[in-house]
Subunit: 194 residues, 4 copies
């Protein structure tokens, strides 16, 4: 299979995944973001990188947004929103921080493949992005692939992570409209030190 | 426009972007990755996050891979590969490091929207991923959007970053095949501390 | 009080703190570092920064060392050493990771002000660095200071963090001797990309 | 030599280094920090970690402070202060960012062992912290050490980094007094998510 064919299958699968995201959960997620005093983003591994990409754009849109674990991140309080990106919904450091954030009175949101996980049960809104993830993916995938099945491989959490990034970048677009922000305005809040 | 419609437009645009990536440049990129003794990944902002997501999977595949700027990253030498992810191809810190890496005898690769940029001129392989980027995107995009045009907004480098991530995850899939690695083998190299 | 006077008091206090570190715990710590296959360093906030400064030097000395949470950190296994820097000994993310590391069969070490904390009970070696820390420091410190008492202020974990850094840099010096490494050899392992 | 003896020599050397810091440069540094609208901290390697430890405490004191390169760091403008920690004063990424910050109209400060370096010439205030550093340290150090000389080894930039940390923590103490902040007030701005 060529890499072009892989990219084609992968984007098709992404489109499919994104279609299945529940509309009401999107509305709740958007409302939570718009209402929060401060927003704290958290995640481990590649999910954490996706979360940080989202945080960067929220900052460009003028939100008070922070990444958990970075140097000058302030404390969280009532009225704030904590958002975790966690495919499995049970990453131990994410869960430990989410519980603390809840104790502090913050609202907890999660983007996950497992709404029935500890994170899913703790959170509202919960945005379910289905897909193979680090918990369920089986080894027979490669065998089926080699046998000529036209599925993308998307090892481990790949499909969840990419779908979450497409979802969150679409949320950013919608927030641009709702806040009536032009790209030029985003650029004025983009770092000029890189 | 609903967020579902935005996600649909965005994945279509991603598929289109990916189709246009030059096949020969992909082959050169794959070969450079396969031949390198050590691989060093670098990038600023969201491009840097995309680079780190790629680095993590290369590690799961058993490559000797490091992120420039992290704590225990070793020095670069001849026989090593430095890969920058840079839409504009002229990010000052990336350029400064790339020049040093070249002086040290390393091979320089870049994923960029601007092959004619300083980074593009320095590098081989150069993978061109077209798209609006932080340098060229115009403000009239939002106006056209509000006027009902069905283009995705993709502010600043969004389209480049997402396309680069789809491309790099497809490279990972191909490397799995070439190195005959199952998902289970990737999992044994995934961090167990998160 | 001038800043010069503050620096004088602070370095005196550092010297005093360091004198009180138990010699046997240092020996156990040194042995654990020397025997480990891989070393994983962890910590939150300023303690985490001190840990990373130590990790960087261990890398310069040729150890296989990683920082928990960084992009290309591999999984931990039996024969490896996990070292936390935690004044309170009860930071939730550190504790969550330490427990996992123990389950994986790794040896757990901690540098802490509270050997009777959950981290202290989990770990061996435990290096006790006394001092005011984020848990016990009282607010009357500033009042006493303003009343003319010649104590350094060292808010929150300052004294622990600085003492830990002096201790760990002294460990590095001793490891240079034990491994017969010159400064020039350290330099050849220092990153050349910065 | 025991590690206790090493720690003793090291703290003596730190005290000595700190005594030699020019008083007027400290005053200029303090004034620059107090007057800045926003403060941006930057540095590579262990110097960067020391800078981040300083940034964290400035945040606890209520300053608008950011670390260059972190996810939600805003752009720099006139009226802002950029502070680099750089022993050699010529780290390429630091220099590239400092030049950009100057172009943007920001004030540039540096803590360095080399006031005559490119960074030193760019900056005001310049705080000189003498000491062996990554540029000048010679290999005969270990030989002299083994020959019984009672100098601390302090490989590469160790002495600069530790002295800078003691200096910056003493600046924090003085800022507590000047801003009339108790430790309890600092604690209310300390992250509660770790």
């Amino acid at each position: 299979m060529t890499i072009h064919r892989r990219m084609e299958l992968l984007t098709q699968k992404l489109a499919e995944q994104c279609r299945e995201i529940d509309r009401k959960s999107i509305d709740r997620f958007m409302a939570a973001v718009m209402e929060a005093k401060k927003i704290f983003i958290h995640g481990a591994g590649r999910s954490g990188l996706v979360g940080r990409a989202f945080a960067m754009r929220l900052m460009h849109l003028g939100f008070n947004v922070y990444v958990v674990g970075e140097t000058t991140t302030p404390p969280i309080h009532e009225g704030d929103l904590y958002i975790a990106v966690s495919g499995s919904g049970k990453t131990s450091t994410v869960l430990a921080i989410a519980k603390t954030a809840k104790t502090m009175g913050a609202r907890i949101g999660v983007i996950t493949s497992h709404p029935d996980s500890p994170m899913g049960e703790l959170a509202d809104p919960v945005v379910l992005i289905k897909g193979r993830d680090a918990v369920k993916g089986g080894n027979d995938y490669l065998a089926r692939q080699l046998a000529g099945q036209h599925e993308p491989l998307t090892p481990l959490g790949t499909l969840f992570e990419l779908s979450a990034m497409v979802f969150l970048d679409s949320v950013i677009e919608e927030l641009m409209i709702q806040k009536n922000k032009t790209e030029g305005e985003l650029r004025t809040l983009h770092t000029n030190l890189e």
